[in-house]
């Protein structure tokens, strides 16, 4: 069952939010010991919200997410609920305020079932960097769910919530959505307020929905979008009705296939499924043409300079003073800060802080940081040019299906390579999504669609048309537990 189906049942009083929420919490109790998608389960809050939602539904007109159990990536500030970012540094941290997106969902009567696991401070591609535990892929418990929003994708795939929110800095929504067989949307930079999203790389971070179908993703995206006076980088542009475009024909839609995304390193199975999906778009009337994004190969290096540089500045605030882990034994203030950071942060976070600090340090700034900012311009220009001629791009999300737990965790370079196809769009700040397009070796594969800034309606329209045509509608993993 999807959120929009559940919403219909709620409004017809065939089920109550309390029943739905109890079922979800029971499901969490069943699968969580094997899956590990949550950092915390907020049962009491959920039941309170479910009761309130049932009252609101009795009283009349409600939002379609009223009474719907939603999971939140644990990088979103949630008032009076522990928000850890998957880090020892923030273990026990209880924010006194809601992130804007959390407040919006709370306001329309959503039910918060839990905070979902992630790579520490959203840095990683497998959720193995969480300081607390790994999350497993619901389709194969020996594999990773992707990351960094691995908990958000795994929870939706395994019915531990109806929909969830993730965040995407270099692919952290699209890649886990692909690995777990669900829909994930990375909105245009600025479309969704980042207020209350714990910052990783501020010029790249964006919050987005993860759902079991395109319609649910559209509903959730609409609910969280919009300008915000608390986020100066949010766009004060009217939020369209994303559901209105679903079901419209994609006849004549121009779809570009970027040749650079189909080169060596792409698994044959993945390639075959993605090309088949593109053929189906053509069958639906889309005009498919090959295009080129010549600077694609430089995106990964650019990202791993810029994102860590921004992170090293953003994470300077964790120094053991105002909040977070603090080495209380230290008698010297500098030692207190350096030792608190050394103990509070995990390996990957430290690696990126070091990388970013190095790239920004005297003598290296021009050759690394400034150079990367210039290459970022070239990557943006590639997209600007192709979008003169096509409406959207279709490509793989990741070069492979979900890899095995432990496979890449000791090799940061290899781990970084799994983001090569999602990073370019993040660098350009454009909109993108991942929609399931089949299974290889029993594991889900996603089709990535990218469009220019604020093209979410076109992307959702195309993804919905594809989803209905291909009939790769969501089916639950068996999760033998």
């Amino acid at each position: 069952m999807t959120a929009h189906e559940a919403s219909g049942l709620l409004r017809n009083r065939e089920i109550s939010s309390v029943e739905l929420t109890e079922a979800v919490l029971e499901r969490i109790g069943q699968v969580e010991p094997n899956l590990g998608a949550h950092i915390s389960v907020t049962s009491d809050l959920a039941m309170k919200q479910a009761n309130a939602a049932d009252l609101a539904i009795q009283e009349g007109v409600v939002h379609s997410l009223c009474g719907i159990p939603i999971g939140l990536k644990d990088v979103l500030s949630t008032a009076d609920v522990e928000t850890t970012c998957g880090s020892r540094m923030l273990e026990g941290f209880v924010p006194p305020f809601d992130a804007t997106v959390v407040g919006k969902l709370r306001g329309i009567g959503a039910v918060f079932t839990g905070k979902l696991n992630l790579d520490e401070f959203a840095m990683g591609s497998s959720t193995e960097n969480s300081a607390f535990h790994v999350t497993k892929n619901p389709w194969d418990l020996t594999r990773v769910p992707g990351g960094s929003s691995g908990g958000s994708a795994a929870a939706v795939a395994s019915y531990e919530c109806m929909v969830s929110l993730g965040s995407d800095t270099g692919g952290s929504i699209r890649q886990p959505a692909s690995f777990c067989g669900v829909v994930g949307v990375k909105p245009t930079y600025g479309r969704v307020s980042r207020f209350g999203l714990v910052a990783f790389a501020s010029s790249l971070d964006q919050i987005g929905p993860i759902a079991r179908d395109v319609e649910d993703a559209a509903i959730l995206l609409e609910a969280i979008s919009g300008g915000d006076s608390n986020d100066s980088t949010s766009l004060h542009v009217e939020v369209p009705n994303y559901c209105e475009v679903l079901g419209r024909s994609i006849e004549g839609l121009r779809v570009g296939v970027p040749v650079e995304y189909f080169g060596s390193g792409l698994d044959d199975d993945v390639k075959e499924l993605v090309l088949k999906a593109i053929d189906q778009l053509a069958d639906l009337g889309a005009e498919v043409v090959d295009v080129s994004l010549p600077h694609t190969e430089y995106a990964l290096a650019t990202y791993y300079l810029l994102a860590p540089a921004e992170a090293s500045a953003n994470l300077a605030r964790y120094n053991g003073v105002k909040y977070g882990y603090s080495n209380l034994e230290s008698v010297d203030v500098s030692d207190m800060m350096a030792s608190s950071r050394a103990r509070g942060f995990g390996e990957e976070v430290k690696r990126r802080i070091m990388l970013g600090t190095y790239a920004l340090s005297a003598g290296y700034y021009d050759s690394y940081y400034l150079k990367a900012q210039k290459v970022r311009t070239l990557i943006r220009s590639d997209f600007d040019e192709v979008f003169q001629n096509v409406d959207l791009l279709a490509a793989p999300v990741s070069p492979s299906v979900a890899f095995s737990l432990g496979d890449r965790i000791d090799d940061p370079y290899e781990m970084y390579m799994s983001d090569a196809m999602t990073i370019p769009a993040s660098m350009a700040g454009i909109a993108g999504l991942s929609v399931p397009c089949g299974f290889a070796e029993g594991l889900p594969v996603g089709l990535q669609m990218l469009g220019p800034a604020l093209s979410e309606p076109t992307l959702l329209q195309a993804a919905y048309a594809y989803e209905q045509e291909a009939k790769i509608l969501f089916k639950a993993p068996s999760l033998d537990v």
């Binding site: 941290f93 100066s232 290096a301 070091m354 190095y358 070239l378």
Partner: protein, 96 residues
Amino acid sequence: MLDRDTVNHVAQLAYLALDDEESSEMRLQLAQILDLFESLSLLQTDQVEPTARVIPLELPLRDDEVKPSLSQDQVLQNAPRIEDGHIVVPAVLTDS
């Protein structure tokens, strides 16, 4: 190209206390990642403007009005050490 002293200097700038083992491992891993960056030097970018943000940013202004904010208790609720409504840290200036 990345020597031990540089790693230790960067760690100091980043306020990260690394032990010897961590520092040598970091040196190897960073060196490998820095190799990846060398590819960027192949690109001619003299005439290219840097991108710091992808959307045009206007400086938002608002009226200077008093509005409710978090209470002192809320602000201090996550502080590791507090005393009389203040955050406590080890002495910044010491005799030594």
